[in-house]
Symmetry: C2
Subunit: 355 residues, 2 copies
């Protein structure tokens, strides 16, 4: 029910009616612990304790105060609480690109887990820029209880500095001394390369992501290791940006490389690459196999549907938020990185080479 605060407390204002916007627009203001205290016949500090320090006041008083609070439809003023305590019931999330579906699930996972524990999610975007990211992180850090960095682009040192200030959890990157949630790509990559090798491929290209991306490097290392093991040649190609468009642009280099199988840093690149190759008359997977990363929304819309190494991103977001909330309760972060499993999802874009 909308609280239309009934009685105007006449004790407050002595003089003339302050009609011009006292707060915001309307004159309405929500009940405070002082109102409750008056109604319950106790001291405001007792109200404060009853409402936030269970056990500190007697059960009887507690009940009286809770009833009064209910009657007035009281809600704490988050700012008043935040001012002396610093607690804001808020967690921040910074992603590199809001429109990148990779982050959809991370955002949802974090939001869901957060709001289940009465935390609100604050979102910011870094636009893939380390500088923007740092500025956003700094600005946020003063207003949230903790911060989740999804695929951060800034330096380890800067992240550690932030983490020294308030709890920080990192997704998709490992940083010594900072709690991390990281998909363990080895399993998925190993499956992917084995599958490609089994299908007769001998030369593989990896299309890399942003140079600042730890995960892109990690995936390249994984690809190299797996290719060594399965005796495939591996070449690394750069992309201009980790998007569908970037994938289209890298198609030339892919063709020039002579590789018959491509693993891309993410699904967007894979999709763009596939579109461009098909437009150039190539047949996927008969002439070239394409494997993406992440299994984003839409990866199965393409024809052929995209084979991809799935990272459980929703789980990453959710685990990161849970970790953060735990840390806010005073627990220590995990010693090492939290690893979540990846797996190859085989669809139509990879298969036997038909030479």
């Amino acid at each position: 029910m909308p609280d239309y605060d009934g009685a105007v407390t006449e004790a407050t204002n002595s003089g003339a009616v302050t009609l011009p916007a006292k707060r915001g627009r309307g004159e309405r203001s929500s009940p405070t612990i002082y109102d409750i205290a008056k109604l319950a016949g106790v001291n405001p500090s007792t109200v404060s304790r009853a409402l936030s320090k269970p056990g500190r006041v007697s059960a009887k008083t507690q009940k009286i105060i809770e009833d009064a609070a209910e009657q007035l439809n009281y809600r704490v003023n988050p700012f008043a609480r935040a001012l002396p305590t610093g607690r804001t019931q808020t967690i921040g999330l910074i992603v590199a690109d809001i429109t990148n579906p990779t982050f959809f699930d991370i955002i949802r996972g974090a939001e869901t887990t957060g709001s289940a524990r009465d935390y609100t999610l604050v979102l910011a975007e870094s636009a893939e820029s380390p500088e923007t990211e740092l500025i956003a992180a700094r600005r946020m850090l003063s207003t949230v209880d903790g911060l989740i960095l999804a695929s951060p682009r800034m330096d380890d040192e800067e992240i550690r500095a932030l983490a020294a200030d308030k709890p920080v959890v990192v997704i998709n990157r490992e940083i010594e001394g900072v709690p991390c949630v990281v998909p363990d790509v080895n399993k998925g990559i190993s499956q992917a390369v084995r599958s490609l090798a089994a299908n007769g491929h001998q030369e593989l290209a990896y299309v890399a992501g942003p140079p600042q991306s730890w995960m892109s490097r990690r995936r390249w290392e994984g690809v190299q290791a797996a290719c060594d093991w399965y005796k495939l040649g591996a070449v690394r190609l750069e992309s201009s940006k980790p998007t569908v468009d970037g994938g289209r642009q890298v198609a030339r280099d892919v063709l020039a490389s002579g590789a018959t199988a491509v693993i891309t840093y993410n699904d967007l690149l894979a999709i763009g690459l596939m579109q461009e190759l098909q437009a150039a008359g190539m047949h996927v997977p008969d002439q070239i196999s394409i494997v993406g990363f992440d299994d984003i929304f839409g990866a199965d819309f393409t024809t052929p549907a995209l084979t991809t190494v799935r990272s459980p991103l929703g789980e990453c977001g959710s685990r990161a938020a849970a970790l953060l909330l735990d840390m806010l309760l005073g627990h220590d972060g995990p010693a090492g990185a939290v690893r979540v499993d990846t797996e190859l999802v085989v669809r139509g874009s990879s298969g036997r080479l038909i030479a």
Copy 2:
């Protein structure tokens, strides 16, 4: 820019910068206006005025204070500011479903426009539930300066009640007395139906979205009107949920309806429907044409690519945020709804009926 949001540009770390004073238990705390006041040799209130009320203090004092603030690397404490003023430099956005790509452009548009004016975006999800939405809206409203509701599911009355409290802008719905940003679907629908009629279709089905969705009703009305005009039969089918899955489930009803052309409430439904119809051996568009709504990310990944009525959702998010920020500056909201244009994007999923 009237507000001092902190010296972000402290590139020149020249010489002795007084470190922030330690708080009682060795916790670091950031500098306050009192620190600045001491350093500048003025009263704290003068500092406050210098930093937030341009023109209220003399240029000379202003300069001294700004230098001192810079030297201390001062940032306002948002909570301390919010407590007396209610201003938080924050706007809220509530969407029905965080993972629905429809909202991603809206989110990005709002975030981008907001952060360009130094506002932070706070995000919440209603999970398509009017109750959850209302709770989230209430909780948010006390902590943000204004609220954007994207495709709200709650009653008009409840929204008006919220709008009476703080500035509210609605996207994808028209509510008398509340500023709205709404894609004007008529043009796009008209183009779509005309195109279908020209391709020989005579019976059309509309797959509706959530019953609480104003936009779904609006689109149905538009479809009916256009079908009247172009002399097509129109039948309305219900979906269980506005997702890919919901689209798959409604395939049976679509087939049973005998319609040869389908317009769905959104692209997700269209994609799911197309998948299921194709799985059942139907050929799109030779046997049945499918037209979606919104032109979301991935709509062009399908085979055939999806014909859809594009709504400029990023623009909606951005316009809504701009509107809201204007209102926060004291301007009135627009008299009527702000309409943005829609247009048909013809791709492969619609075409001539081959009977």
